[in-house]
């Protein structure tokens, strides 16, 4: 990625240098050649030229469109993670970066990733807007309270790289820095193993699911007052107002914090809000837990309560959008 951005950057530098030198040369040349020689001298009439005007309108326009196309293609690429990624969650908070690996490790202001593997970060913020910026990867994305933003990268060289917060976020903004540590895959595995004993993010989510008593209504047997959550993630959910929405991270988050906003068809809006009761990290764990409920017991990293996971009538079957690689993202399972 860095190489692609740099190539475009140096193209822009070259074009800019050309025009700066062109303008400077013309100004200097005209300035000397046509300097005023007599006190009352005036300029000579020059016939305006439509051809010239059109030329210096159209040529910059075309150059601009080339730059646009090139820049857009780089950006498009940056915005589309490959199908198979190592997923990590990031939460910004005044003034630290918190990382949550799927199998449980948590880090603050340090992020360990393996070299040569596409890493996808899903981020949000606990308070104000921050921006995740790793200059070496030519990569930046704001993390915004109430939203999930994603970015991805594929580090090509091992080493330690600066991580900055690039969106001004208050007193210790310039202290909200960290290090991205890119490791050999084997070292990375060793590092991961060092964190063994931590439970996976999904099982933390499962615990929260029980502690917050979500489980009393969202029962896996379809007999609860809330919809069955097995297989919900990635599916299309019909709402009681006739709309159909995709159950992605944002939807699950919204359903926890603003449960009355988008109620599944066939259910009453009786769920209380959990705004202020769950932290951003708990939310991520809950989301990860819901994601892990595949509707097939064999796939579940931790068994979600008793009973048969047969989908209730209100819960659509597992949708085709469910990323097929979800299970493989958990390398240490």
């Amino acid at each position: 990625m860095a190489g692609k951005v740099d190539a475009l950057y140096f193209f822009l530098v070259a074009v800019s240098a050309f025009f700066v030198i062109l303008i400077a040369a013309l100004v200097i040349f005209f300035g000397i050649r046509y300097r005023r020689r007599a006190h009352d001298e005036v300029g000579t009439k020059v016939v305006p030229s439509l051809a010239l005007e059109l030329a210096w309108t159209i040529i910059p326009l075309c150059l601009g469109l080339v730059m646009f196309g090139w820049g857009a293609s780089v950006y498009f690429n940056e915005a589309r993670p490959p199908a198979e990624t190592l997923d990590i969650y990031v939460v910004g908070k005044q003034w630290m970066w918190k990382f949550q690996h799927l199998d449980g490790q948590r880090e603050i202001n340090e992020l360990h990733v393996p070299v040569g593997r596409a890493v996808r970060l899903t981020g949000t913020s606990e308070d104000v807007i921050h921006s995740f910026f790793v200059p070496a990867f030519r990569l930046k994305a704001d993390v915004i309270p109430g939203r999930y933003t994603t970015l991805w990268f594929n580090a090509t060289k091992t080493g330690r790289y600066h991580l900055f917060c690039a969106e001004y976020c208050g007193t210790k903004h310039s202290g909200m820095t960290g290090t991205v540590i890119v490791m050999d895959p084997t070292e990375y595995q060793a590092w991961l193993a060092g964190g063994a004993g931590e439970e996976s993010l999904a099982s933390k989510g499962q615990k929260a699911f029980q502690d917050l008593a979500c489980i009393t209504c969202h029962r896996a047997d379809g007999q609860g007052r809330g919809p069955v959550l097995d297989g919900v993630y990635g599916s299309k959910v019909s709402l009681n107002n006739g709309q159909i929405v995709l159950a992605d991270e944002a939807y699950i988050r919204e359903s926890i914090l603003s449960p009355g906003a988008k109620v599944t068809a066939g259910f009453q809006p009786i769920m209380p809000t959990f705004q202020g009761l769950v932290s951003e990290e708990q939310l991520l764990a809950l989301i990860e837990y819901v994601k892990s409920l595949k509707g097939r017991p064999a796939n579940q990293p931790a068994t979600a309560g008793p009973g048969d996971p047969a989908p209730g009538e209100a819960t659509p079957a597992r949708g085709p959008q469910t990323p097929p690689d979800r299970q493989q993202q958990n390398p240490k399972k």
Binding site: N241, G260, A261, V263, P269, T273, Q275
Partner: protein, 217 residues
């Protein structure tokens, strides 16, 4: 030229009354363009959230008093009519008619504000004022809070414009009583009329957006 230079209404830096009139009218139109954008920011916010949260906004909207809103709309449209008649009377140089229509316009404006006040009081009773023990029965009350915030910001700003309009009308009434206007020169009446119509038009947008959308359910 010579006689217009002595006209007491002509400011020294204009060549003639025609130019002065043109400047004043254009000035008011430009000002109204500014006003349009001023309200535009809030309208944008409202429309956006309305599209995002149709359910809650619909439910919150249905708690507004449609009858009072409709009466107010009729009051305001009528006041626009009387304002137009006032401008017409001024152009014809009829001082008493001008004063009468200005008076009616002001009364209608005051009626509008009074009814608005009643509506606000109802909202207060119902605990629908954000920040003052806000309470809303129904799904997603925090988003109803957002609706009422925008409702009070938009109608409050509109009411402020009405109050300013009443102040302007008072000045016009005093000037008319002193016989300042003539068939030849009545620019202030004309541009005050423009302002008054503009404030009405804002309401014509506010009313359906806040009261009417999603009524049928």
């Amino acid at each position: 030229m010579a006689d217009t230079l002595h006209d007491p209404a002509l400011k020294h830096h204009f060549d003639d009354l025609g130019q002065q009139h043109e400047a004043a009218t254009l000035g008011m139109w430009v000002f109204l363009a500014t006003e349009m954008l001023f309200f535009g920011g809030l309208f944008t916010a409202y429309m956006l959230y309305r599209i995002w949260y149709p359910e809650t906004f619909g439910a919150a909207s249905r708690t507004l008093d449609l009858t009072l809103g409709t009466v107010n709309t009729i009051v305001l449209i009528t006041s626009s009519l009387t304002m137009a008649l006032a401008v017409h009377a001024a152009a014809a140089g009829k001082r008493r008619k001008l004063m009468m229509f200005l008076g009616i316009t002001m009364v209608l404006g005051a009626v509008f504000l009074a009814i608005k006040g009643i509506e606000y009081y109802q909202k207060f009773e119902e605990h629908h004022i954000p920040g003052l023990g806000f309470h809303f029965e129904g799904a997603a009350p925090e988003r109803a809070n957002l609706f009422f915030s925008l409702y009070f910001a938009m109608t409050g700003l509109h009411a402020l414009h009405m109050i300013i309009g009443l102040g302007v009308m008072t000045v016009m009434l005093v000037m008319a009583a002193r016989g300042r206007f003539s068939a030849r020169w009545n620019t202030p009446i004309e541009i005050s009329g423009l302002y008054w119509h503009f404030v009405d038009i804002i309401w014509i947008f506010l009313f359906p957006l806040l009261y009417l959308v999603d009524r049928h359910r």
